[in-house]
Amino acid sequence: VIEWTPGGIPSIHRVSKSVNLNSSYLKKKQCFTGQMQEIMKWNGWGYVDSKFQFNKKGQAEFTGKRYRLSGMVMPALKEWFESTFGASLQHKTPASAIPNSSAVQPPILNEAFVEDLKSTGIPFSQDAEDRVFRAHGHCLHEIFALREGKVGRVPDMVVWPSNHNDVVKIVELACKHNVCLIPYGGGTSVSSALECPPEETRTIVSVDTSQMNRILWIDEKNLTAHVEAGIVGQELERLLNESGYCTGHEPDSMEFSSLGGWVATRASGMKKNIYGNIEDLVVHIRMVTPQGVIEKSCQGPRMSTGPDIHHFILGSEGTLGVVTEVTMKIRPMPEYQKYGSVVFPNFEQGVACLREVLTLITNVFAGHALKPQKFYITKFKGFDPNRLCVATLLFEGDRERVLQHEKQVYDIAAKFGGLAAGEDNGQRGYMLTFVIAYLRDLGMDYYVIGESFETSVPWDRVLDICRNVKERIIRECKERGVQFPPLSTCRVTQTYDAGACVYFYFAFNYRGLSDPVHVYEQVEHAARDEILANGGSLSHHHGVGKLRKEWMRETVSRVGMGMLKSVKDYVDPGNIFGNRNLL
């Protein structure tokens, strides 16, 4: 991953001293049982106990004990925060403290459905808090509304199936009583996919898959594992690690996102260059639809049996059914792991280097860039701190090959003016992946709102799209009356033979605006138009949801839309899975 950061994210002090290369970067080892929302924020990212805040001295600190960063003080953050956004600690915009149950509409209940559901013994709830918790993902407008205590249409009930058969029963009952089902995994959607359609008049039931979290078997001869789809990423890795295996699928949200969610959105992880994206990792999928269960009859590694039915399921975004069980490829845990980082004089050369590295060796990735001004590399020969960019790298495999590849990569980087910047910075970059989402909550306490969005684009357009979209964001903000210069930056997070995945980060100080979320949405909309006009895709892995639906037709063509619609019409003629995503 490469980021061009004139004022990127701040370096976190003290962390580098305690680097332990062989340890996982996540200290958190807790599994979800029972009610998720007890340890999770109801109106922000992640764990209740973990957040950035400014202490009484005005220094930033990260609370809790879960992350390597937890309990640390980061004096540089305040300065960065204030100078980047023009924000001030004096101007606070605190969130409402507790969920306001009275703001939640009473549930619309289909009594016959409830009666039948009771008889199955599957646990369910009509509690307002449970319902609100499952009514949203993490789009800016969703979190912003929650912080203001505003709640729209929410599910009327939550059910917790504990296995495939429970799901079959729930779907049967939903069809029988014409009830709307919305599958819920980890709740990390950033495409408005979990939003309940306000026009829905039927009972909406949130099908929370969190109790379906077991590894059912591991096949060591074929290196596959059969897993219930509600399992959350970090839990899956932890359990597999106990047996000496891993999947290598590590999306940034892996602490909270679920296997079923990955399948339903075509997820991508940062180690995909070694292990592959979700579509490369699944061997077998089982999904319950209103027409019955869809699955393949065998586990052959590849088939020529017409269009791959997995591809109707992958990316279906909960519109066709509930994914219940998945057989995934696994691999022995890597013998050796090594972080690294390279500093380039500018983004252009960094991108050229990544392209080159990719054509020579594949198991290389890059992580997050650090703030240039606080970064010791700025003292290096003549690098302009405003243009410099950092690639962070992670090598995995047997020791010998890792070291060999590492050398190759640094040799290539040198050709592009890149200087090795050490393992510490590389590891730091990876750790930041997991805490960066918490930063937005901090911003929202002080009039700063923002979000990231992504695209995929052919190599020859990477630099053009980055320049044009960043510029578009800045100009749109100006036109819409944003009083402070916005943060508008980007990084390359994934590389492919034919292109790359690019992330854009956009945030601004909204003081003086009457409807900041609307402004934010207009700018993001314009940025997406710009992405498409520059040859970028509608989404690389976040999905379409309801947020990007309007561009689907031009993205997949009229005929393509017709194909998708006809599948939906056959599989779910009663629109039981009525979240109205995608189409």
Partner: protein, 677 residues
């Protein structure tokens, strides 16, 4: 000390500050100016790019590699041979901008300009907007082209005000001039062949060269969207090839935006004035040569009044294209591959090009002389040469016209502090090469006759008068854009004798259609043009406009008659050539025959007293009419070989003639879109 003049001492609608840049040169050292510290701020601080680097980037480009290979396959030549050809083309084309030469040019130009012009006015606001624009995105400078002087004046001004020196697209004949060609090259000119035709390699090299300059943005690119120096001093229909090349980096997302800066250069008196008329009458233009230029040095003895360089408001291509271009059309083919423009892109490019020419027109300054020329041409030629016009009457009429022009939004160069009578007297004095005043009357000055034994023939007499008339016509043309829309409406009112708004609109559109090579109308804007014409004519009291009706106002006679008379030479010329076409014996004629045949046809009619305008003798008018009848489908091109031939549909020509003379109502003629690139 700079001499500034504002609204207070000049009749100008906008409160703009114009600075006479010669004023400072007259008071301080020319050498000091030439050696001034030059510190421009280019786009994104782009580093200067040497001619060698630029050429290398172009030659190594994927686009050129692709085309080279394609040509090699087609012709059987080796890739290296084709590449060598490309290199030769590039060497011929390449600019070699060097600051040292700009200084040298600056020094020389200062000397020349001070001799030729009383003042060179530049609008400071435009300059400061340009200064900003240059830093924000690649900038395209788009001046109109009326004189060779245009060529370096912009570089001269930008050098003076610390704005990056442009690279300039120039015609290849200039490159052929000894020394001068090289000086121009080092002052930033790059040279383009005139007839490129279907030379694929040449197109590829040129377009890549242009796009690379735009993409890199190290210097503004300057080109004449009209393609040529206008011999008639009237705006020319824009050429679209270069315009498309320039815009393509935006369409393909290679730059965030491109800024177009329309520049209007207006002259009180054009250096080439007498040359122009002769060219139009078929005395071919002397090939650009250094000795020719030196001979022209007698022009240095004369005074050419003042010159205005108006830097227009920068226009964002991104904003212009909003909703007009779907840039996704470039997503599926690698951007380096040559790709013909889609219909949507062609239409947009054509629209932008026309728009820029309109902006140039709106930014230009009209001199009292141009207004007088409008009036001269409304008198019969014989009256001008023999009886003369009463000075008093001319003065009054000119002042009346000044008021009308101002009410139509014209920008006049009319010194405010001088009494009107003196302004007009000095105008006549400045143009004593065309007009002279004798005992209270004003006469058209015919050229000295070469000493001959026998008396000049009647045909020669026509040509002598024509030369003087066409020169006047050129100066009239400088202000035509101000009057053209109301004039079309006035003509529609008079010819159709209709009062119905919808009928007048149809005829208005017909006139726009038929005259679209003659005047600049932005495609697809007919109804706005019509509304504008109604509004302006109503405001000046020419017509009354109702919901459904448009009627001649009682007090509107003078305005309407003036406007109709303004357009009359064009209508007469078109009618003459229409008669020529349907009186042809054959149905087919060759391009070569056309101009001389028309000329002798028209000359006869002038001699017989059946044709009152000499403008039908202008080759420019003749060519425009040919384009018009082709566009209207009355004439079709038969062969595209060495000898172009045309086939006439006499019925169709007759029909157009009848519509134009009001005998039959116009139906919406089907015209082919004129958007070839």
């Amino acid at each position: 000390m700079t001499n500034t003049y504002r609204e207070s001492d000049r009749l100008c609608l906008e409160n703009e500050e114009f600075v006479d840049i010669l004023e400072e040169r007259r008071h301080s050292s020319d050498l000091g100016h030439a050696f001034r510290t030059f510190s421009p701020h280019p786009y994104k601080g782009a580093p200067p790019c040497s001619a060698g680097e630029l050429s290398k980037t172009v030659l190594d480009s994927q686009h050129l590699r692709y085309v080279t290979k394609e040509i090699a396959t087609e012709t059987g030549a080796s890739v290296d041979e084709v590449k060598d050809d490309a290199r030769v083309i590039l060497e011929e084309m390449s600019q070699n901008l060097q600051l040292g030469f700009i200084r040298l040019m600056g020094y020389t130009l200062t000397k020349v300009f001070k001799r030729l012009f009383t003042s060179i006015y530049v609008n400071m606001e435009g300059l400061s907007m340009l200064q900003q624009a240059v830093q924000d995105s690649p900038v395209i400078l788009m001046p109109n082209h009326r004189s060779y002087v245009d060529f370096l004046i912009i570089s001269y001004v930008l050098f003076t005000y610390d704005i990056p020196i442009p690279v300039i697209a120039a015609g290849i004949p200039l490159a052929g001039m000894k020394i001068v060609g090289e000086i121009l090259r080092r002052s930033g000119a790059f040279f383009i062949r005139r007839a490129i035709g279907s030379d694929k390699l040449y197109w590829a090299v040129l377009s890549e060269y242009v796009r690379t300059i735009v993409r890199m943005g190290f210097a503004p690119l300057e080109f004449y969207v009209e393609g040529l120096r206008s011999r008639t001093l009237k705006s020319l229909t824009p050429k679209l090839g270069m315009m498309h090349m320039v815009l393509e980096p935006y369409f393909k997302g290679e730059v965030y935006d491109i800024t177009l800066v329309p520049i209007s250069i207006s002259y009180d008196r054009v250096l080439e004035e007498s040359l122009l008329a002769h060219e139009l009458l078929g005395v071919p233009k002397p090939k650009e040569s250094t000795t020719g230029l030196l001979k022209a040095s007698r022009v240095l003895q004369e005074n050419y009044g003042s010159m205005h360089v108006n830097f227009g408001r920068p226009v964002s291509v991104r904003q212009l294209c909003q909703g007009k271009i779907n840039r996704c059309q470039y997503n599926l083919i690698p951007r380096d591959l040559p790709q013909g423009p889609s219909a949507e892109v062609q239409a947009c490019v054509s629209w932008i090009a026309h728009l820029v020419v309109r902006l140039q027109e709106q930014g230009s300054f009209i001199s009292p002389w141009s207004l007088m020329a409008c009036l001269f041409l409304q008198a019969p030629a014989s009256a001008l040469t023999e009886q003369g016009l009463p000075w008093q009457q001319l003065t009054e009429k000119t002042l009346w016209l000044k008021k009308l022009a101002l009410s139509f939004g014209a920008r006049l160069h009319w010194p405010g502090q001088t009494p009107d009578a003196d302004v007009l007297s000095s105008t006549i004095a400045l143009h004593r090469s065309v007009i002279y005043r004798k005992s209270g009357r004003v006469f058209l000055l015919l050229e000295d006759e070469p000493a001959r034994k026998r008396p000049i023939s009647a045909v020669d007499g026509v040509n002598r008068t024509a030369a003087a008339v066409l020169m006047l016509a050129s100066y009239r043309n400088q202000s035509l854009h101000v009057f053209i829309r109301p004039a079309l409406l006035a003509t529609a009112v008079r010819i159709t004798k209709s009062t119905r708004r919808d009928e007048l609109f149809v005829f208005f559109c017909f006139l726009q259609d038929i005259f679209s090579n003659e005047f600049i109308f932005i495609p697809g804007k007919s109804s706005q043009d019509f509304e504008e014409a109604c509004f302006l004519l109503k405001e000046c009291g020419g017509i009354c406009v109702g919901q459904e009706e448009v009627t001649e106002a009682e007090a509107g006679l003078e305005v309407l008659s003036f406007l109709c008379a303004l357009l009359q030479p064009f209508i007469d010329s078109y009618q003459v050539i229409f008669s020529f076409l349907y009186e042809l014996e054959a149905h087919v004629f060759s391009e070569k025959e056309f101009v001389p045949a028309v000329r002798s046809f028209a000359t006869k009619l002038i001699l017989s007293g059946d044709l009152h305008t000499y403008e039908a003798l202008s080759s420019d008018t003749q060519k425009n009419i040919l384009s018009a009848v082709r566009r209207l489908g009355a004439v079709t091109k038969l062969r595209v070989s060495e000898q172009n031939e045309y086939k006439v549909n006499k019925g169709a020509v007759r029909q157009i003639e009848n519509i134009l003379s009001g005998k039959i109502p116009p139906q919406m003629l089907q015209t082919a879109p004129d958007a070839r690139l």
